[in-house]
Structure formats: structure tokens, C-alpha cells
Amino acid sequence: MPSISLRVNGKSLRADVEARTLLVELLRDRLALTGTHVGCDTSQCGACTVHVDGRSVKSCTMLAMEADGREVTTIEGLAVDGKLSPMQAAFAEHHGLQCGFCTPGMVMSATDLVKRNPGATERQIREWLEGNLCRCTGYHNIVKAVQAAAQAGRK
């Protein structure tokens, strides 16, 4: 079984993985990082979005082996010293989540957007979030949260 080394939420680790193991399976089943969710089997829903080397990736589309030597951040690694990240805080402030299932992927995806495009318009936010499905919020408050986090970041 191939062995890989990677950093997950700042911690270095080694893991033996089957060649077919997906990154999301490594995270959830082996590392017990269950904040990353699986909502579909066609890479449409985005609930499994994490950061790999700082860029958002649907962890169901990536083999664990491809994460060899890379830095993975999951929703569990976003808050620093127990303090919510600006994006997490904005989701709470603007009621950008209801059942919470899509939320980790949504927050990880939105965090990447704001990093890449701090001045994202409402339209750009909506286009960017096309790959993350939410069935509860109608996206209205998610968009508001992302706008607020972006604005806070610009200050």
C-alpha cells in the first residue's frame, strides 16, 4: 500500500493509503476529520471542499495519494486558537447556515474566493459558489456573509 506524507491542519503525518482512496475518505475515515462532508457522488455539491496548498478543492475529486507532500486545511483547521475565522464569523452573524451540512464546504470555498478576489461583487460571489449546493438557505444569507467577510478583509 502506498505511503504518503502530508500536513493536515498544520500537523505533519504519514499514512498508508490504497491507490483508490479519495482525499475525503482519508480525512473522514482515517483521520476522523468529519467536518468535511460527502453530499453527492458526482462532484457537484461541494460539501467536501477543503484547501490544498491554500486553494479550494473538492476532496472527493482528489486521490489521497495526490495530497502527498502537500498542505491540507479542513474546516477543523480554520479557526485559530478557538477564534472563528472572519468567514466563519460572518456566516454566524448573517445566518448563512441552517442545517449545517453544506456549511464546511461553503465556508472553505468562500474563504478561497475572498482570498483570490477580495473585491468580489455579488454576481461574482454567486458565480463562484455555483459548485456548492445548499438546500436550506436559498443562498441569500450566504452571499451576504461572504460579502461581509470580504468587506471586513478589505478594511
Binding site: 455539491c45 456549511t103 454567486r126 458565480e127 449546493l133 436550506c136 436559498g138
Partner: protein, 785 residues
Amino acid sequence: MAQGGIGSSVKRKEDARFLTGRGTYVDDIVRPGQTHAVFVRSPHAHARIKAVRIAEAMKAPGVVAILTGADLAADKVGILPAGWLIHSKDGTPMVEPGHAALVADKVRHVGDQVAVVIAETKDQAREAAALVEVDYQPLPAAVTVTQAVAPGAPLVHDQAKANTCYDWHLGDKAATDTAFAKAHKVVSLDLINNRLIPNAIEPRAAIGEYDKVTGDLTLYTTSQNPHLIRLLLAAFTLGVPEHKLRVVAPDVGGGFGSKIFHYAEDFVALWAARKIGRPVKWTATRSEAFMSDAHGRDHVTHCELALDKEGKFLGLRERTLANMGAYLSQFAPSVPTYLHSTLLAGCYTTPVIYAEVKAVFTNTVPVDAYRGAGRPEATYLIERLVDIAAREMNIDRVEIRRKNFIPKDKFPYQTPVALQYDSGDYEATLASALQKADWAGFEKRRAEAKARGKLRGIGMSTYVEACGIAPSAVVGALGGRVGLWESAHVRVHPTGSITIFTGAHSHGQSHETTFAQLAAEKLGVSTDQVEVVHGDTAKSAFAMGTYGSRSLAVGGTAIVQAIDKIIAKGKKIAAHLLEASEGDIDFKDGKFTVKGTDRAKAFGEVVLAAYIPHKYPANLEPGLEESAVYDPKNFTFPAGCHICEVEIDPETGTTQVVAFTAVDDVGTVINPMVVEGQVHGGVTQGIGQALLEGALYDDQGQLLSGSFLGYNMPRASDLPGYQVGTETTACTHNPLGVKGVGEVGAIGSPPAVINAVCDAIGVRHIEMPATPERVWRAIRDANKG
């Protein structure tokens, strides 16, 4: 107002865990020694099972057990029941074929469960499942309702002649026919209320666990109502008494109705766990969810509205074929009947109504309640008829509604279809929505869009719905097989913090916050001092759970009643401490005061005295916790007005919703932030139904829209921001005056969208979902005409 009490947008207590990945959904749970289950499902819509061969699969690595329909039959367990009995016009009961959790004789839809493979790992179970050989003899399938009732159609169940489950009616046929005969104008319409797939983003999951020593069984499941699942397991599917059964629904990732029902997989996980003596875990793939979660809607309807020459409604008739799918899911029989035709008066004074609904079996996934359940279908047909009547009689769309509204001084209002509306002010929500949406300024926007080559349209719906389900006696008289009350237990701890145990279940609704607000309001405590416990039959008392927008109206009322008992007991204790008579004690802002004096005891002092009863009334039990049960006296009747504005590209038929306004009367609002969020979500599902979503089967009964690639879910980029507002008339029969908000968005919005599309392109009707192709064809056909 208490800090964090009723009416304040308290931030959610739930959010911290969800935002940091610390939620606990069923698939996140790992039980010691757990095995993994994968189901073998039918690839055919309709086929006889000639043989199931498991020998090869049993040899595969890691396989622990393989169970089939034969095992189920041998154990005489696992027949999923229907929870509602409907009688046909002629008095005969509906045809009620059982639904075996694993099928032995004949599969009846693509996805029907034939066997379950249990192995050490998920991969091993999946690989072994592929080795199970099932010999099928394919049979012709009955896919659509119109096809299924046609002479000679294949029979889904032999005992259901012409595939008919029941042939039901409601209302006064003769009086309605007379009204139509005298009418100045009759508007007729054939329409389809499209089949939807709920698609909560968390797929269903279950873990069954068995303790060999005690015989205790535990089921972790993605349910909106764990107590109901336990009841059905105890009384019907497994036959194990409740004290040996615990059902836990932890964090659940959305439900929208689809997680109400007792599904085959729940039962199988528990039954299999008992058989093999180890925990059995199953998590649906999304593809499985598409072919095994109950679908919603799917009505084929002919409807008619009779009017006098001024545009007053004289009568309404409906004839509907309602698709039940292959089996009766628990609440399926009630959805197109008592949750649907009883709403056909809408907001209007229509004096006579007659509805005929035939429920039909087909070789498709079972259909049951999905956000709105019956009421979106009623609202859609009414509001489409009203718009067409306005158009054909050259009456303004707003005026025809106003002319027919039930006036606000006519409540309580008895409709001709059984319901009595307790309160409402339809003019208020209409006026507010018109103003917010700038209805009056629309023609300017239409002209501006035209200059850009776009067709802009505006549409509205004014709706009323019935929720807060429901008075048990009424439900029982109509065929419901359960009571629909709700329970609460409120425990005040010695140092003054509070735990509320509720039978309602939160899977997005924010109960942990809003129910805490009820305690804050009533007891003058901070919401931080209140914890809400739900989702575990071992913790809360029996109750019916969350659906039909009932959690607050029914469950919240039970909480308030329990809190009132706490206050009443607290007054006794305070009277003793203050050496006053009980009748002279007031409780306000967290203080027990002797009337007309400044002598007072704080809530915390009284609580402490209850637990350290050194100076305490004789004949009063120490401690401070109370239970209450609330059985509502009537349904609640939220209502409102939704206005949609669309722009259509005539070259491509693409429709963009450019503005959407919803003004709803949901009764007293506990948390405006949460209420707005519920409306946003409901409206989005309604826009999804109107423009994007639709389950598609081919004529063999294959589900073509079987994944997120083939089923068009609303995405952020499809939608505008929303304008929402509330206008409040209090519910008159519960102490909070609340009505419910979970479903209004999905009920009011589809006709507003379709009315806007029809307005934009100038057609009489277009079917949902109004896809670019349909819209493009409609424009082309209109131009031809």
C-alpha cells in the same frame, strides 16, 4: 422584552459547532465493531424475481452476511406500514399493499431493495454487492399516472385494479355543478404539478446496534421524528417493545419532508445488527438517494373556476390523478387529499368547491410529503386559474384577487372544504408586497428590458396554507392513524439554568435558539442559560416530531405550557418565602413580587428554594421541572403574497428571476432572522420547482434525472437576492399566536414565478419546470399563432 426574548434576532446557538466542523451527523458516528451495509437494488422498474444467488458474493473478502427478502419473510418482519387511511367515494378503504423492506417476489421501481450485503468495510460491501446475482423477469412498467389508469396497463399490485389506490372526493358536487351552470365565465386548465426530488444535502444514513446481553436495540438515523420511527419499529416492522428500542437522530442535514418516513434501510440496519450481533452502518450515496428517498408532488390535474361577470368566484372544481409511486409511504395518502383539496378556497370567498382525487400506483419511487405537501399543489392550481381568469376577462390581476379576498373582519371563516381559518389579513400582505416590489412601476421596467431585447414579466400569488398539524381528533376522523400532539419537559436546575426537552427535531430550523428564546421571554433568563435537547427517544418524552411547520405552533406551545406550570409552582414557593398569599404574587421580568409592594424574590432564589427546601410550603414537592403536552385545537393558517419578476431571453428561452418579494403572515415572529432564513429557503425550492427541477422517467421507468448532473438543483448563480417581510395577525388558538413558517416559501412561490413567465411571454400557461426549451417553444408557438 426579555433579553433574547420573543421578537429578537438572537444569533444561533447551533452555529459554533457547525462552523467548526464539530457537528455530529449520522455518518460521522463510528460504533465499536461496526460493519458496513450496501444494498442490492433493482435496475428494473418492474420485474419478477426468479432467483437471488448469493453464494459467490458470500465468498468475497470481508463479507459478514447477506440478507434477502426470503430472510425477511422467514422472520415475518419488515413490512413498512402506511400511516393514513383514505376511503374512496363509495366508502371502500384504500388499497394498502405492504412494502417489504427487502423484496422477495417482484420489484416495483428502479432502486427497490432486493438484498443487503454486510461486510467489514464499505468497499468490501460494495464489491460483494456487485457479485449478488438476481434473475429478473422484466415486466412492462406503468410509469405515469395517465398511463397507469389506462385500460390494460400493467398492474403494480395485483390487488389494485386499474392501479387505483383510492378514488376520493371532497365538497358538494351538486351545488358546485349548479354554480358552474349559472356562471358567466368558466376558466379551465390542465396542468401538471411536477415530480420533485427533495435532495437534502445530507444523504440518509442509519446505524443499527444490538446489545446481546440486555437485548437493547439502538438506531442512529437521519430522521425528523425519532419517536415516530421508534413507534413504527415497535408496533409494525420489528415488533420490539419501546423500552428495548432507542432511536437517535443527532444533527440532521436537512429534511424537507423526506426524512419523516420510516424507510426500509432504517429497519434493515437494526434487524441485521440483531442478526449478526454487531453494529451495521449504511449511508446512502446520492445516486441511491435519488432512487430511494420519497419524491414529492406529481399531480396531473384538470381544474376549473366559475366566475360571474364582475369577476367574483362562484365555484371551483378539481380532478387530479396523484402519483403514489410503487408503494404507500407513510403519509402519502393524506398529501393529495386532506393536505391538498381542503386548501382549494385559498384566500377567497369561493362559495362552493368540489374535488376528485384518484391516487395511482406506478412503477416509480414512492411519493410522499415534500416541503408544503399538497398545499403547493392547491395554491398553484388556484393562482394559475385566477391569473388566467383575470387575463381572459380583462380584469386587473390585483383587483380580481382583492375582489374575492375573505375580508379581515370575516374571521373565523368557514370554507366550503372543511377548514375554518382562524385569522388573517390578506389585504395587508398584498399591499405590503405590492409596495416592496414596486408593482406600480413595473411597466417602466418592462419597457427598459424590451429596449435591451429582453422580455420582462411580473407575477404574483396570494396564498393561504394550513399547518401546525394538527388536532388529533380531527386527524383521526379523517383517517390519520396517529395523534399529532407534541410534548415538552422543562427542567430548571438548582442554580437556575434550564434544559428544555422537546419532541420536535431541528434539522436546520434553529430550535436550539428559538425554543431557548421562549424560556428567556417567559422566565427572564438569558438564552445562554437554556439548553434545548432533542432527537433522542431516551431523553425526551414521546412526541410526533417536525414536519408540517408544526414545531413552534405545537411543540413551542407545549414548552410554553410547561413553563407556565414552572411559574405557577414558583408562585407557591415565593408566596411561602415572602409570607404572602399565592394569589398576591406576580411574576414579571424574572422576579416574583407581592402585588403592590416592593417585596420580591428573584427567580434564582425561588429555584434554589425548590431544591434546598429548608423553608418550603407544606404539601409541595421539592424540585422544579414540569412536563406538558399540547394537542392543537385547529390548524394554523399562514398566508401571504409573493411577487416574482423575471427576464427572459427570447433567443434562448432562458429565464432569470430578477426580483422576488415575499410578504408572509406567519403569526407572532419569535426570531426574525430565522423566519427570514426559512422564507429564503422555501422560496428557493419553489423557484426550483417552477424553473429548474423535475424528476424524469423514461417510458421503461428508468430514472433519467438520477444525479445532480441530471436533476437541476437551484444554485447561487440561478437566483437573485430576496426581499422578504412579515405582516402579523396572531393565531387565535395558541398562546404564542404563532402559525409556522417552514413551508410558506415553497407554497407561495411557484405560481408567482409561472405567472411572471406567462406575463413575460404572453402565453396562457406553461408547464413547470419552465426550462429554456419549454419557454423557447412557447415563444415560438405564440409567434406562429
